[in-house]
Each structure stands twice: as C-alpha cells, then as structure tokens.
C-alpha cells in the first residue's frame, strides 16, 4: 500500500505557480528524490509534505489519511515525520546528545530509554564519542551526522531531506551520499530527498522525480531516466546529450549531416519534425569506415578538449552544418581537422518531446 500520496498538489503565490498539478505515490520504504533546477518548487513541495505550508490545491495523504488540503493541514508536529534542513538546524544551545534526544523527549519516553536509543543511533553515525559536545565545536560533516541521527532516532513515518549536502565540500558530499543510502537500507524509512545535484539523486534514490518550473517532467528509476528521457528538459538535465532534429519523410528520417531508416528509430510517427537525444558516449569514432549495424557518417573533428577521464570532441559531419558532441576514452586521440567516421547506433537515439 502507498505510504504517502500526493494528488494534484499545487501551490500558488498570487498568479505564480510555484508547484502545479504534482502527483506522486511513495510505497512504504521507498526513497524518492525531487530533482530540478533552482526555483523549480522542490522545497515548496517538501514543505507542503512536512505541513509547514498548506497547498492551494490538491491533497496529501499518509497511510490513507488526508493530512493536507487547501482547507487545512495537520500541523507538522502531529505528522510523525522528520526533516533534515539545508542549514541542519542543529540547536546550538544543546549538546549533541540533547539534540538527538529531543524528539524522544517530546514523545515522553523514559530517560533511560532515551539514553539507550540516543547511544545506539550515535553509534550508527559514528558520533558516540562526541555526545557531550556543543554544535559549535563540530565540523560541517559531523553536524550533518547529528542532523541525520536526530531525524532517524524518532523512527519517523516519513523522512524529508532538503539539500542536506549542499553545505559540504565535494569529497565529503560524495561520502555522505553513500552514508544516507546506507542508513536508508538499514532503517527502511520512506524518504523524500530534495536536491539539484543529479549524481546525488542517482546514487541515493529508488526513483527520481524530475521537476521543472513547478511541474513534474518525469518520474523513473535513475537508469531509466538516463537511458529513456521523455522530454528535452530531462535529457538535457540528466547528463550531457546531443539534440538532433530530424525530418520524417517516407521511410527515412533526415538529420543534419546523415539519414537514418525510419524503421531503425524508435517513436517515428506522423511526418515532419522529430527530436532525438543522443548521448555523446553512445557515439563511436573511427579512422576508417566501420562495418556493422551502426550508421557510418564521414566527419571532421572541429574542436576537442581533454578532461582527464575522457576526450570531449566536437565532430561535424561532412554534409552537416552543426557539430555533434562525442566522448571517447582518453586513449582515442584525434587531431583537430582530421577526417573520422562517426558510428551512430539508431537504437541509442531516444525520441524526446
């Protein structure tokens, strides 16, 4: 059964739709990310789930009970959720132990029970030895762990995280991604995770909700999202890609610089303009004409840059106007201006809106 259900949730500020027609169902124990560019309404959605603001339309249900609607909301303190804030919101007037124990205290557990659970969770996040410290004496990563412990120790029905890693440096951020996923695997708490960092979302999530301008673009598992983006926005937002405009005529589709058989491409219907996404990694480069299934297109290297982990080439088909971006392994070196063959597998081309 669904743990958390958002039905057509909307938030309107005056005439501006911060969130519109947002529908999502989370099954129990699922980890879902809200991913999208700044200002797309992620925090707004999360805060509506938490009960800090009423939606202007739609409803939110937890365990089959309505907890938010335009006519009223269950206040946050009665939702049995937890939230990790961008600022961590660790209370500076309480020690690590007091911070973590706070939620249990509010739930009126006995002192010994609180101690036991606090110690246990502090062990899990490897912070037991810092129990008596004040937050001002902790590093950013340690504060982050306290925030995690404080949110998890109350065994919330739903855990909400709002860009919890954005204040950490790059290395620590990578480490904490795995930490968050590990804690999720251990406690199986239904989680909504807000981020604008796609790799963060991909590492942690079972499913990702890609948002743009207050609307859902696509909801899918990370690999599906990458391989089968449904819209131009998703294809461009998740990873890098080439957008190829095709013109469908008869049984072939003409692109800038090459032509593909309509039967080999997905989603060909009607006639006229079609848009395809083709990842730079999915294209091969060769010095001689390749044999095999793939389309072979004669082209010229127009520019290149070396990024350590791969080469990034701009390759212009001889009969085309715009170059196509191609990534190759660091060992495949081509000089600017040299003739090459592009290997394009039509099956790797994804039709997008």
């Amino acid at each position: 059964m669904s743990k958390l259900v958002l039905k057509n949730v909307a938030k309107r500020y005056g005439s501006f739709d911060a969130v519109a027609d947002f529908s999502l169902e989370l099954v129990k124990g699922e980890f879902v990310s809200l991913l999208g560019p700044s200002g797309c309404g992620k925090t707004t959605t999360l805060r509506m789930i938490a009960g800090f603001m009423p939606p202007t339309g739609g409803t939110i249900e937890m365990d089959g009970q309505q907890i938010s609607s335009a006519s009223g909301v269950v206040p946050p303190e009665r939702r049995r959720m937890s939230m990790i804030f961008q600022s961590y919101a660790i209370w500076p007037n309480m020690t690590v132990g007091e911070n973590v124990g706070f939620g249990l205290q509010v739930r009126k557990l006995s002192r010994s029970e609180i101690d036991r659970r606090v110690d246990k969770i502090l062990d899990v996040v490897q912070m037991r030895n810092l129990k008596g410290r004040y937050p001002a004496e902790l590093s950013g990563g340690q504060q982050q762990r306290v925030a995690l412990a404080r949110a998890i120790v109350v065994e919330p029905e739903v855990l909400l995280l709002d860009e919890p890693l954005s204040n950490l440096d790059a290395n620590l951020r990578e480490e904490m991604r795995f930490e968050i996923r590990r804690l999720h695997d251990e406690f199986k708490i239904t989680t909504v995770y807000v981020t604008h960092d796609q790799s963060e979302a991909m590492v942690t999530s079972d499913r990702i909700v890609v948002m743009n301008k207050g609307k859902i673009e696509q909801i899918d598992a990370p690999h599906t999202l990458y391989r089968r983006p449904k819209s131009r926005f998703v294809a461009g937002f998740i990873g890098r890609t080439n957008f190829l405009e095709g013109d469908h005529q008869g049984n072939e589709v003409r692109f800038d610089g090459f032509t593909a058989k309509a039967g080999n491409l997905e989603g060909v219907n009607g006639s006229g303009a079609l848009l395809y996404s083709l990842r730079p990694q999915a294209i091969g480069l060769a010095t001689s004409q390749p044999s095999g299934q793939a389309l072979a297109v004669e082209a010229e290297i127009s520019s290149r840059s070396y990024l350590g982990e791969y080469w990034d080439y701009q390759v212009r088909p001889l009969t085309g106007a715009k170059p196509i971006r191609v990534s190759t392994s660091p060992s495949q070196v081509f000089e600017v201006g040299s003739r090459v063959w592009l290997e394009i597998d039509p099956a790797a081309m994804v039709r997008v809106e």
Binding site: Q66, V74, R80, M83, F85, A89, G103, V106
Partner: protein, 577 residues
Amino acid sequence: MTATASTLDAAPARPGRAGYFDSTWLLWIAIIAVLLFLVVSPFIYLVITSFQAERTGEFTFANYATAYGRARYVDALLNSLKLGAVSALLAGVFAVPLAWAVARTDMPGRGLTRMLVLATFITPPYTGAVAWILLAGPNAGWLNRFYMLATGAEAGPFNIYSFTGLAVVIALYSFPYIFIFTTAALELVSSEMEDAANILGAGPWRTMWRVTLPLALPAILGGLIICFLEAIALFGSPAMIAIPARFNVVTTQLFQFFGNPVRVEVAAAYAMPLLGVTVLLVLVQRLITRRKGFVALTGKGGDRRPILLGRWRWVVFGYAMFVAALSVFLPYIFLIQSAFAKAWGRGFSLDNVSLQNFRFVLFEHATAAQSVLNSFLYAGASATVAVFLTLGVAYIVARKLVPFGGVLGFLCVAPFVIPGVVLAIGFYAAYAPPPLALYGTALILILAFTTRFLPVGYVNASAAIRSLNPEMEEAVRVLGGSRLTALRRVVAPLLKRNLLGAWLLIFIPATRELSAAIFLYGPNTKVASVMIFDMSEEGNFERLAALALILQVLTLPLLWVGQKALGRDFMLRRNAT
C-alpha cells in the same frame, strides 16, 4: 490502513477537516489591542483634542488661533528650529573628528575616547546642563572665576544663560549619536578603498577628505538629523537655561501651556509643528541612510588598517580630550565638588566638604529617595513590558504568523517620530480624563515610557529574531514539539543575551526620562528626573548634584552587566539608538 492510522495518535487527522484553530490569533488580537492603546489612541486623542473647545469639546480652530496667535509663541517655534540646527552642527564638530580618529586612525587612547563618549552618552542632558550652570554661570560660574583670577578682569566672558550657551550644552550631550552613526559607517569602509586612492597618489588627508568621509557622509547626515530632532524635543536643558535667559523654545512653551490652568487643547495644537518636523526629518534620515548605492559599506572587502597619523596623532588626541573635558571631566569635577560641598561657591577647601547633601537627599527629603526608587521601578516595568511586547511582535512579523503583521511592526517603531513631550500630551489627552483618569498614576508613566522606548525594543528584537534561522524552530516542530516548545526550548535560550541587551537599552534611558514624565507625574509618582528639575528651579545645586550623582552611580552596575553580556560597546552600537 487502520493499523497504521494509529501512528498519528497525537491527533487523528480527520479527512477533509484538517483545519485547527490557531491560538496565535488570540495573541495577535491581544497585541494589537495593546499597541492600539499605547500608540494609536494617544496619537488620535492628540489630534482630536487640538480641534476641541476647552470645556464644551466642540469642534473648533480656536486652539490653533491661540497657539499661533502671538508673536512670542511663533518665536519659540523658530527658536527651536534655530537651536536644533546650531546644536546639531556643533555636535557634528565634536563628533565627526572623534569618530574618524577612533575608527580609522592610530590615535592613542582610542579605547579611552570611546569610554568617555559612553560616559557622555549616559549623562542625562539636564545633568549636563546643571553642571554647565556651575561652570559657566555669569560671574559665579567656575570658568568665569578662573578667568577673572587669571586675568584680573571684572567679569568673565562666559554666560550659559544664552542661546549659544544652550546650544553648546545640548550639542555636548547629543554628539554621541553622530559618533555612533559615524563610527559604524567608518568601520565598514575597507582599507582597500583608501589604498586605491593612495595608489593613485592621494596622501592620507586627501584620502580622508575625498574618499573616507564622503563614504560616511550619509551616516553623518543621519546622525545630524537625529541630533537636530533630539535638540528640538528636549525639555530639561532648555527649561533650565532658556527660561532664565528669557527666551522660549517649543518645549518650554508647551510646558507653560500645561501650567495652571492646564490648556491641553492649545498644547496639542501647538505640538503639531514639532510632530510634523520630526516625522518629515525621520523620513529624510531613513532615505539618506538607506540609499544602498551610495553606501559601498558592505562590511566585506578586506581588513581595515588604521591610518598612521604620525605627529598629528597627539593633536587629534588633544582634540578628543578637549571634547571630553567639556562633556565629562569639567562637568563631573564640579558636580562632585558641589555634591560634597556645604556651598558650592565656596570652592574646594576642606572645611567646605560634607556629606550632608547625600544624607538630606537619601534620608531627610520627603520624596527624593522615593523618586529614585520610582524611576527604577517604572523603568524596570516599562523595559520588561516593551521587551516582551516587541519580541512578540517581531516574532509574529518575522514568521508571518498573521496577515498584515507588518502593520504591527510599524506601530512599534512609530513612536520614534513622536517627541516625548508630544507623546505626553497625547497620553494626557487620552487617559487623564475619566473613565481611566490615569493622570499622576504610576501606570500612566509606565505606559508612556513603554511607548517611548518601543522602537528601541523593536529594532533589537527583530534584529535578534532575524538572526535566528527559522529552520531551528521547524526542526522542533517536525520532531513533534509545538510552537511553544520551540519558543521555550530554542528561541528563548538563544535570544537570552539579546533580550537582556534590549532591556538595558530601554531601562537605562528610562530611568532618566524627563520630557514625558514632567507632564504626567503626580504628587506620589515623582521620578528622579523630575526631582532634579524641581531642585534646579529652587537653585539647590548641592543637593541636586548629590541626587544626580546617585542616579549615575546606580547606573554603573547595569552598564557593567550589559558590557559583560554583550560586549564593551553595547550602548554605542547603531541599533541602540
């Protein structure tokens, strides 16, 4: 589904009926009622009363005709404006070099200078005026006596009972406002901006004139305006000096309208220009100091190295000590002399020393000791009310708990544009008549003080609340704590210091408030400032000095507490004024 539904046990959510009554509404209504009572109603009564006939209460313009019908009354208005301008400019002459020297140079004794400015700041203007009567009274004043002694002349050159005398005395005790504004601004000018001028070939003086001071100019102008407003709203010093000098200013004239019989209607009409000028200038001041583009004072942009003055540092130091001599050293030396003297005119000889003034003030006088107690009680009560009220409003406004919360914030800062004298007339008009009949009660004084200092409270409270990330409270709430729990466990502990600071910033000036108290006190509710004023009218300077010193000494522990909790300069910061 029903199995897991019990997880929301605290309050089972009823589908479609998730609305809860929000008790913050009650609080909001209570606060708005209090603010209406404190701010809006006196103001409205002030305006209405100015259009009412004395006994009948009918609508009339007669009060305005009376108030502006005589050349004398109009002259008093003009005198006030002139006085404001002259003393503000003088205050600028005192304050700006000191501020620059303290904030930006290597002048010796910068800490000492700050301390002396603070000492000036906590000296009530009327105490300063009394000290200057001792110093520069015609003939008997000490400065004149020293002059005659030194030159053998028949008479001394100084006469405090003059327009100039009054302007100087007011400037001496209001220059700290400009000092505070200017240092705050100068401390934000980064050395890099000055370096940029230096590299282009400008010497230190040129840099100061062309770069540093222009950057601080809005702040200086803002401070000048505050001094101007302070001067025209002041009651004590003009009453002690202008009246013997046979000229009137607005506030002394208002006081006379309040004499026997009380003509509150005429007073209300006569107070309007004072109110108007204040409102106008406060708006101007806000415009000047808020103009972002001009104020390149971001606070970032590198460190601030002091400008090396070389030999000039002693000249600048000399000037600082000269100002301090005028505002602190000389006045206190002769106040102390007077307080311990049998007769102040007999000078420093040992047989003139006695404790009888203190004994008299503390134990023998019928109401003097009581008046000090009253001052502290009323100030304590108003500071407490003001702090909690403004904290509540600031919280409601910052967290947007109610629609139109901004209106509440506006009401809290509005009294800033109401001079104490005018406020008192409004309170008199609103609450002296039945049914409340509060005139002369402790309550009316406490309420008036509360209103006067609401802006200080509000500015501090909202700064404090804004410094708190709302996520701190939201974290409490998602974990199951109510808003009250958040206030009690997180907000209050984190704001303790700020609240104490705000309390002191209200309490200290409230213990010396005179402009409003003089219009509202009754026989049993005399406060120390009124007592001092009465003694000055009796010419009882020895006892007066003793009482004034007692008031100052009692303030010291409070200052100490404030400095412990909030840092040395807590009274000299921008949001203190």
